[in-house]
Symmetry: D2
Subunit: 352 residues, 4 copies
């Protein structure tokens, strides 16, 4: 619970933004799996800061050190532990935040919950930085899934007022055209930044190659599991599947996905409003989900806030912050989905 | 897992639509709580079928029998078990469904997952009927929360093309004006029914009276827990919090909720785009969430499907089905929210 | 947790001695398993009271009713729920126990823990009667294991001063000669009863046919799991494996079990001091364990106690009680072992 | 599960004997706790090797580095992660063990379970070295418990043929006279070592200062939890409570612990055969438990074994091994007990 996710595959994340390190333990990976270290690092680099004008200028290599679970680069069945040292820490940027909570950050409820001992430096354990170990775990899961021809890809659907087209929910391949922001999106971000502001967005994710019947009933269906892990990504405020919120305005005759047998003898559906999930179980059609991501709460503009000592006042956030976290959240969504899917597969004994 | 939800409060649901009974066990309620049986039954009646033209004509009393956990009507600290007998069962309506899966139901993936032994009668364990024990548990939790001045109320936000206004996210009281469908909504449902069709909708839910700091970090925040349980309600395809999906188009300066100290000396926010949750933790502002509910997949219109023996064909569903499940889902959303909230409270030791 | 056991197979037990019913839910059994109802009832009858002079005269049929999870007698993949009604209840026997706790029963700490609302009638949820649903679950697991040639049998090792020989830890078959008390043991029990006293004992249990490597490291090894469930049987005060406590006086050269290849080419050990478990994992040699069971605390002799209102005094227990629960605990130990072993098998995906 | 223990306090252990590091994460400690680093190190030193003739000559400082969860030496509410680097590794000692399993070690079942990828170097994750992070966690818990006047102490009850007297189960203080081996015990160990052999033993542990009613019913009572964690210490083959296995030969009138009110008005028992636990719940009398520890399986004497390629043969173990692990296991038992007790306390909300 809390910092731990999964049933057959158990991920546990630890660390705070300004602690000596952040990291994760991952238990349940089959023995004999040989991760591709270079591919993993490339995946992590997609999440890393310092890649462009839209990201924070805090630059960290984010190279995980594996302390356990590998023998000569191969999983041995013991829990993996990977740590990433926090090297580029500027705690002084956060000094006034220990007294005045940033609007729409976890600062205020966390300080009330944990008291004076709470680590608020850089957002502490609520920092987006904790998605780095999530991506370490997810990157490994993605590699394992890929070996079984299960592919996961996410794209940017919206940043502010700029939209991209949705995935074709019937397509067996996941296009990567919009895995990074378009020019128009970069302009949207730059405009927000210029005004010391930030902007939100939406990410879509697809999973192809799933068997039929993956997921468990009621509280452990694919939707339940995916939602539980996706809401762990800071800033996510909504998750839907298939037609999602659009289904509210639809008739059953529109929304229902009729079955047919395709030329290969496989049962398919003519549409995919279900987003590949019925009753919490996979249908083998592409699994499609969307997440809404709020605008980065750390903005340069002066904001009204109150101090913990009870006085009101204006707050100006210095620090180094992304005017839009959506581009960096794309691999995080892929990682989260991969972890939840692999967990369901290992639990269901449907594969390894 | 799977049929079990919760950490400090553990709900487990059992039963199939045409089994002898459905029911639930609930562990973790404090000893000495005296539920109001009449109020519980009134709550269950809101979910019960047979209440109007928009619901199925299957009429069941849905009166739970408590087999354990109560002594003279008071909780004794032992797990509660409540069962509801399935009396009004017409399994013959479902005979052809054992051969031909209904589009957009769990029939197809469930049959593949569990094989020929799967209980497909009336949807088996994937039936909406399983929300009755969810409401028994939730009804008890609502009563306990109310004793602590935590109130939960849901309303219909949309049915098909008809919309209601959203809750005022700053209001300390939850209005009940739209807890049942408006005239226009009933007409929308009747129109769908007349065409042997169904229609989807959207429900909004508010929780007031929460303390600050409820919820646990990362995977067990309030959003994670609420989403996990809400997706257990059949037909739910999306969940969002506060401004939810609308945040994607917003700037940080719009979306951020500035803090101020109100006349009673309490820290409040001037807006509530966060829906009362930051970093997974409650802020003490009203918790606001929405769920999207797909149109009932069981429609009278002929639909294309395939038999498990591999042949295609048209399917006409007889049975008794709701043209719109949104009105009956309103108490289910309240129940699910109450269970998740009480679980978080009991885990956090913040109250009892 | 608490009333729930297991990872891949999840057993949850509910009920109190004088509640309307006791029962269990069992989740995770594979679909398509057809229990033998007659054999299950015969197994339950071994635990049932009223079988001889050594047991309580409270007679209850203990016939479980299955409310869910079965279709025409075959598991469908949904959770099983079975209930046993409490019919032969004489709560008046326990009236004074609500005021004066019985020495060495749970009465005292339970009343302090749960307060006045605690259900102390007949021991409430701490009653040995709760082993009936444990045996329902265990009886099902034993049948499933037997289909895979995994056999579990227990015997009485000691009652008071009367001892039986231990199992041969190398024998591939489990003898049933001492599954019931010997004449000398019955006399030992009768002698205690005549003096309004009770007597303790020891049970040994063997499991044959296990594959190599069953169990998970550290906290979820076979010893950990078996101990966790065995201590749930009321009266169990000790659990050991293989040579158990005797190993404390041994040298490594005596205790170590040398490997050899038998005539069938299988790796075996020449002795089995390990009781079939190394590092928490099965070795494929017979798994051997012992449990110590304390004398029934309910005795007719007058005993010193105190009332909850703080006054001392003597207590005479009327009621109907076993002078020795060891004979009835034999199938409980088999049931508990079966549940833990099947859970480990289902989790390890080593079989079904 | 598996490498994770606890409900409200969650300990997860990672690492292998010859991996870069071993360590643990610990979640659920209250914020604001300031561990005494010096006392923790002294506690760890009691477990460390290289302290005398009875221990292995592998010397490691075993100084944990805390990577997260502390701010200026105080817990902040985030998960703690502590790592201990493996520096003094001589993998070449174990080369032949990858081919020939050591009798009574986990080598054989682990290799079958995990296949060729298993890390057998130094026993891998089954090494006694993994008790170092257990002691880091347990040492922290001991300090927290001590602040609440809950004290835990263990002593050596037996090594080979040499016995010490048991704790007085009614004494409110825990004597430390036998926390280390007596002269006679050291001689017993030296004699075994001289013969290239090893010797087993028994440890007793007491917990004083517990409130009444700690523990949860059935599967999560104090006995269940303590047994589950104690069997995680390599070499433990038996656990009992109070009179434990001796109860099998007792009458109820002997074993029952009569209640009385002491001079301070507190309810006490005149004897403590229950070892402070009834129905899985604490009685407030001293909690007393024993564990049996098998002789170290690594002995210098030649032993019969088989190679994984199927050939038989004699094995001579070189390496550096303790002729008796009992003295070093004493703090491990204290650590395990402290973790289980603190978990039960935090879950029951009985204290912090």
């Amino acid at each position: 619970m809390s910092n731990t996710f999964g049933t057959a595959l158990r991920l546990s994340i630890f660390g705070q933004s300004h602690a000596p390190a952040i990291g994760m333990t991952l238990e349940g990976l089959p023995a004999g799996f040989r991760p591709d270290g270079k591919a993993l690092q490339e995946f992590l680099n997609r999440r890393a800061p310092g890649q462009g004008a839209h990201t924070t200028s805090r630059k960290e290599a984010d190279v995980p050190e594996f302390l356990s679970g590998l023998v000569n680069g191969t999983t041995c069945g013991a829990p993996l532990c990977a740590v990433i040292r926090n090297t580029n820490v500027r705690s002084q940027d956060y000094v006034n935040l220990q007294e005045i909570p940033r609007p729409s950050h976890a600062d205020y409820p966390a300080r009330i919950k944990y008291g004076d001992a709470h680590d608020s430096r850089g957002g502490g354990k609520f920092s987006g930085r904790l998605t780095a170990p999530l991506c370490v775990a997810g990157g490994l899961c993605l590699q394992l899934l890929e070996q079984k021809n299960i592919r996961i890809g996410a794209q940017i659907l919206r940043i502010g007022s700029v939209e991209n087209p949705r995935f074709d929910p019937l397509a067996p391949e996941i296009p990567s055209a919009f895995a990074t922001p378009t020019e128009a999106m970069l302009e949207e971000i730059a405009a927000a930044k210029a005004e010391l502001d930030s902007v939100g967005g939406m990410i879509e994710c697809a999973v192809t190659g799933l068997p039929v019947g993956l997921g468990e009933p009621m509280f452990d269906g694919l939707e339940n599991r995916l939602a539980q892990i996706l809401f762990a990504i800071p800033g996510v405020k909504g998750v839907d599947f298939g037609s999602g919120f659009d289904c509210a305005a639809m008739r059953g005759s529109q929304h229902n996905d009729p079955y047919y047998v395709n030329q290969d003898g496989a049962v398919q559906t003519r549409s995919n409003h279900a987003g590949g999930i019925l009753g919490g179980l996979s249908t083998s059609m592409p699994l499609i989900l969307r997440v809404a991501i709020k605008p980065t709460p750390s903005i340069g503009k002066a904001q009204e806030s109150v101090s913990f000592s009870g006085k009101g006042g204006m707050l100006e956030i210095k620090g180094r912050h992304d005017p839009c976290i959506v581009p960096r959240a794309v691999p995080c969504v892929e990682a989260a989905a991969a972890i939840a899917i692999l967990d369901a597969i290992l639990e269901a004994k449907q594969w390894i």
